[in-house]
Amino acid sequence: MDENKLLELSGYIVEKGRQRGASDVEVLSRSSSEVDVVIESGEISGVENRLSDGIAIRLYIGKRMGSAFTNIPTTEAADEAIAMALASAKVTTEDLDWVALPEPGKYPSIKGLWNDDIARCEPAKAVEIAGEFMKRATEAEEGLIAAYGGSGVSLYHTAFANSSGISHSERGNVAYAILGAIAQIEQGVTPMVLAFDVKRHMDLDLEAAVDDLASLLRVCKNTVEGRSGEHTVVMHPWAYGQILSYTLMQAVKGDNVARGKSKLEGRIGETIAPENVTIVDDGTIPTGINSSFADDEGVPRRRTPIIEEGVLESFLWDTYWGNKTGEESTGNARRSMRQGLVEIGGTNTVVEPGKRGIRDIVSEIDHGYLIRNVQGAHSSNPESGDFSVVGNPAILIEDGEMVGAVHGLMVSGNAFDLLGKCVEVAKEPIALQGLIGPEIIFEGVNVITRG
C-alpha cells in the first residue's frame, strides 16, 4: 500500500476515533516490503520476501491513553482497532502529566531517501549481488568461508495523522549486502569477521567490503596471546557503537533523565569528554539509514548535538517527556508498532572525524588492541554505565602492526569514564546501520586476557 492510501486510512481513523469519543487521536501507518537473499555456509540458501502492513493507533480520553495495532489495512479492521484502543483507554489509569499531541511543524529537506532503482530491484538482481560478494570474498583470501550473510532491499511507506493537525506521508528505501566470514585454523575457527555496505542507491561498494573482510581475516588466522592490564585500545565503530548504545545513548534519553535513571542528569554544559569528542544525533543526514522527514509522532527530524567538543550539549526528547519537563521535542520519538510503546530513540549517531588516517595511528602503537566487534554489550548496566564485554575479533597490535587475533579477550570499564580516555578519532567515517563514525582510540583501557 502506498503512502497516500495509508494517509487516507490514517485520516479516517483520526476522524472516526474522535467521533466515537476520543479527545485526541494519532495514527502511524507503515507498509513495508523486504527482499532478503540468505547466505548460509558458503551458499545462497534462498530468498525471503516480507510484506507487512501495520496501523498503530494511540488515543486519549481526557488523560487516559489506549492503543491498538492491526496488520490489516482496511477500514473494517481499523474500526475494530479503534474500539480496542477506546476500551483500553476507558479502564486505564489517568496520566496527569499528559499535555497534548504534537502540533504540525516544518519538515527538513533531505534528498535521496527514495531511489527508483532500489524500488525496481528484482530478486534475481539481489541474488546476483550476494553471489558476487561471496565469490569475490572467497577469491580474495584463501580458506575464507562465507558463513552467513546476504543482500537485499527494504522499502517502506509511512503516514502520520493526528487530531492536532499533523498529516504527513513519506517513503524511503535502502539496499545492502553483508557477509560474515571465518576460516578454519588449528584451534578451531577464527573469530567471525563482518563486512557490509548499505546505501540509499544500488551502487554498493563490494570491493571495499571485500578488501576489509579479507585483510582482517588474514590477520585473524594467526592466533596470539594478549596481556592483561591497561592498554591502548582502538575501537571500530561496530564495537564502541554497541557499548555506547547501551550506556551513553540510554543516559541522554530525556525519559531516563527525568526518571532519575541517567548519570548525566543535571550536567548539561559540563565537560564530560576530551575536546576531540563530538557526537551528534542526526535524523536528517541523507546517507543515514535512520533518516526521515518525521519521527514516529510526525515531529520533524533534526540534528541534535549531544556532545560538542567534549561538552554535554543536549538530551533527546519526544513530545510527552518534552512537555513534562518544559523541553522541546527533538524529533526522537520511536514507536514499537506492535507493542504500541512510544519511546525516545536515537536516529543516526554521528561521530565527528579527526585528522589522521587509521593506518598512521596504528603504525605508532607499540602495544595495543583493535576491537572490531564485541559480545555482550547488551548486558551492560545502562544506569551505571558499567560494561564488561568480550572483544571478538580482538586484534593485537605490536610495533605498529596488526599481528593476530586474541581469543576471549575482555574489555571492561565504565562508558562515561571511557569517553574521557579518548585520545584520538580517526579520519575516515565508516557508515553502519544507525552510526556513522571513524575508529576511536582510547588509552588506559582495562584489558583482561585468559590465563
Binding site: V38, E40, S41, S45, G46, V47, E48, N49, L51, S52, M65, S67, A68, F69, N71, A81, M84, V91, T92, T93, E122, P123, A124, G131, Y148, Q187, G188, V189, T190, P191, M192, S228, G260, K261, K263, R338, Q339, G340, L341, Q375, G376, H378, S379, S380, E383, S384, S388, V389, V390, N392, H407, M410, V411, S412, G413, N414, N446, I448, R450, G451
Partner: protein, 458 residues
Amino acid sequence: MEKAVERGQDLGAAYVELRGEAGFIEYIQMDDLRVNALTQRIEQGVAVRVLADGAWGFVSTGDLGSLDVAVEDAFKMAKAAAPTRREPIVLSDLKAVHDVEEVKVVRDPRHVPIEEKISYMESMTKVIKGYDSRITAVTVKVRSASGKKFLATSDGTRIQSDVMLVWSYPWVTGKEADRLSAARHEEASTTRGWEYLEDFATPEFMGEEVARRVKLQLGGVPPKAGTFPCVIGPRVVGTLAHEALGHLAEADLTVNSAFNGKMGEVVASEGVSMIDDGTIPGNVGTTRYDDEGVPTSRVELIKDSFLTGLLTNREYAAKLGLPASGNARAESYLHPPIIRMRSTFFETGDWSHDELFEGIDFGYYCLDMRGGQAQMNASFQVGIQEAYEIVDGEVGKPVTDLSISGIATDSLFKIEGISKEGFTFGAGRCGKGQEAFISDGGPHTRFLEGGITFGGQG
C-alpha cells in the same frame, strides 16, 4: 491454506509449507505507575515456504485473500536462488502428521479484565518501591498471547496448535548519591494462563526477586579482573549451557563453528552431560511438534563428556545424516523456521553443596544473569547481576556488575564439580535474528581457575 499447498505442487515445488497464525496479543508497560503502553491486537498472517530446484523461497503476508499469489512469489524466489547452488537443499523424510495440540488453561489472558492486569502491575511496583527507599524507578512489562497456529505441508502434515503466553518482567533502578544500579527479573509460561501470575509469578515474588538484587548491587564491591575459581548457580549455569555450548550444537551454526567435526569426541570434563529437551511438560520451549511438523525430542548433546548430538531441522538432518530433532522454530509468520533450542541444561553430578565451595581461597559465586552472547569461535559472554565473593570457602560480600566469559572448548574441561542437588529451570528469551522463548538450567557447578574469565574493573 490447503489449496495454496496444491498450487505450489502444481508449479512443481519439491516441498510447500504454509504456516498460518491468528490470535490475540497484548502488551502493557507501566513506568513508575504510569501506563506507558496498553496495546491489544488481533493479528493474522501466513508464512509460505517453498523448496524448488534445491533452494528456498519464503514469503510472509498478512493478506489471507491472496495465498496463491504468495505461493507463486515464493516459488519465483526459490527459482531465483536455485541456479547459484552447488548442492541442492534436500529434506529428511518425515511421516505426515494429523494432530491437534491443545493448551488448556484456567484463565485465558484474552478474557482477563484489563483492570486486573493493571492492578497486578501496580501491586508489583508498590512491592518494589516499598522494599528499599533507594529504589528510584520501576518499569513493569507484561505480555500475553492467546491464539492458534496451523501448519499444512505438501507432505500431508496438518497440525493445529494452541498458542499461549504470559510473561512478566520488572526492570528496577536504585540510586544512592552518585551510584546507580539496576536489575531485572523475568518469568514466563507457555502452558498456563493468567493463573501463572497469580500463583507463581506473583507481584510479591517478582517484586522481591528484583528489588533484592538492586539492593545487593548498591551495597556491592567492585569485581576483580582475571580468572578465578568459581561456583555458578542454576540460572547462570543454564545460560552457560545455552550460550557456551547450545548455540554451537545448533547444526546450522555447528558447521562453521569450533565444534565442527567433533562428534564423538571428548569436549568436556568427565561426568559432564548436557541435554536439550523439547518434551519436558510445563517448560517454556516445550511443544509437541516443531514448525516443520517434526515431533520434538530429548537430544543428548554431551553424554559423559562426549559430544553425542546436534539440534537439527529437516534440512540439516538430511545434510548431516542425523535425525530431525524437532528444533525448527519461527518467531511468527513473519519469519521462516530456523534451528533453536528449547530447554537446555546440564545434568546433576555427585558433589554436595558444601564441597563445591571448599578449598576456594578467593573466587566468585554467580547466581543470576543479565543477557549473554555466543560466537562461532566458541567465545561466550554472560552478564551477571547477582554475584558474591567466595573467601576461604565461604560466601562473602555481594559484587556489583560484572560479566564472565570463556572459550567453551576450553571452559568445559575446567568443570571440576557438579552438585547432586536438583534445580529449577529459568525462562528466558534468545535472539538469533528472531526471538524464541526458551528455558535453561543446571545444578550448581564449580569451575577451576582458568575456566572462566571475570571482566572486572581492575
